[in-house]
């Protein structure tokens, strides 16, 4: 719907200008994508400064090899995938993307913040916010990554699949199971 940065004509144009050595194209892209990419990097690195550093490096590298850029797919998917690769190189392990299987093997990690029941204050805004946070905290990291790319960055299934190196079906599974888990949690706690 309204994704100004996603218009494919603009994206193709940006890539062309970038290849031609137009530094303003790089700056435009940087200003559009800096914040989302930093937010994404931060999921892996858990460190704000390191995340910003990573994204700045990525753009400097993008400029250095702009003439050799081979971009057939989505430019945004390429950037997010590059951030992920760099972040995983920094982290050196995949712990951050732990998935449903892992969590199901150790169900106790899903009850991170048990919410005390206080029926008289159920409508209390703070309590509701705490409940939402607790519901979110129970989700596996990979599920939250998919949700972020899909609902915050509004990327398509295929783009998300290529960024995270999973199948399109896998993206759907993460979203569907994630929503179901949130729903179960919200229903249980609201009683």
């Amino acid at each position: 719907m309204i994704h100004p940065s996603q218009s494919s004509a603009t994206a193709t144009d940006l890539v062309e200008r970038l290849r031609a050595g137009d530094v303003r194209a790089l700056e435009e892209l940087f200003r559009q994508q800096y914040e989302p990419l930093c937010r994404f990097a931060e999921r892996y690195l858990r460190d704000r400064a390191a995340s910003e550093d990573l994204v700045q490096d990525l753009f400097a590298a993008l400029w250095a090899r702009r003439t050799r850029l081979d971009l057939r797919g989505s430019l945004r998917a390429y950037l997010f995938a590059s951030v992920r690769n760099r972040a995983l190189n920094v982290r050196k392990h995949l712990l951050v993307e732990h998935d449903w299987e892992r969590d199901e093997a150790a169900p106790e990690v899903r009850v991170l913040h048990p919410t005390p029941r206080r029926p008289d204050e159920l409508l209390d805004e703070r309590e509701r916010a705490a409940r939402v946070r607790a519901a979110v905290a129970q989700l596996p990291e990979r599920c939250r990554l998919v949700m972020q790319l899909r609902w915050q960055e509004q990327l398509g299934y295929a783009e998300i699949a290529s960024i995270l190196g999973i199948s399109v079906k896998g993206v759907e599974v993460q979203l569907a199971r994630g929503l179901r888990a949130l729903r179960a949690r919200v229903r249980r706690d609201a009683h």
């Binding site: 719907m1 100004p4 979110v136 899909r150 929503l179």
Partner: protein
Amino acid sequence: MSDSFDWRIIDRHLAGDATADDEAALREWLASDPRNAELLSAARAASRGIDRPHAEVWDVDRAWSRVTSRMTDQSDSDVIPLAARGHARTTASARTQRIVAGAALIVAAAGVAAVVLVRGALPPAAQRAPQRHEVAAAPAQQTRITLGDGTRVVLNAGSRLRYADAFGRGTRDVELDGEAYFDVVHDESRPFRVHARGSVAQDVGTRFVVRAYPEQRAVDVVVTHGAVSLRREGTSMAPALLAAGQRGRVDSTGAVSVVAEADLDRWTEWTRGGIVLDGMSLGDAALELGRRFGVHVDVRGDDLAARRVSARFHDEPLPQILDALALALGARWTRDGDRIVFVRVQ
């Protein structure tokens, strides 16, 4: 889908891909059980990334200058030095620098926290520093910046902030078109001044919103912390004092009025992603929505455009907002790409 729960509809809604049918089904589902709204907000929260207690501030200017300093490709002579950026955008800036006649307000700072001065015209170009940085929030965007002195600025959609290369050395001057929230770091030796549409705001450690979009006849200054004193420039009128919780307005004749602002949130709600239509005309609401969503909203008919609307939105997608307005006003809307047209239902 009251209980059977079609996750794909929620998915399309959150990804901005929902059809009108989806939105209708979603509304029904939301109405069927209060816990469904909670599920929706949990899904939004999950997609938001790292949970932060405070607003995010990204200094994209400083980040970009770090990127340029890391660009190692020496063979390229076409790297434009950062200082030239201001010139690259002069066309766009000139277009947005509209002069509003008559608005003149000064917030003078004898023992008060902020000074706002609105002049009738922009300073002549020759007087302005040659090297300007410009930060813009495009339509459908908000930009958060931290200036070199630590002052935080949130720029609302369709607004621009400019400052000289020498910002922070001696003076702290910024120029604003549109709307911004300032959280100024106090430094007695270096006054902080906001020039808003030919205006100057001088600050000594306070938080306030300046709203000065071109379509407004008045300039509004709302103080959330600290204090501000206002007077019209070029007159000997005693300054009006704005305390925290008060709003000063300079109308098109230059008259200054001060009222207690019962609803401070209304003025800062946009920094948290909300949209507040507070009894403004549908024509003005159309401009506001246009900026916030990056679309063009047309209202057919003067009588319809003059209708007053009051509403608050948070996180609702544009079609839902338009539906709500249309329902309230007995109008309907159509959309063709980025262009939305409101017409009265015959």
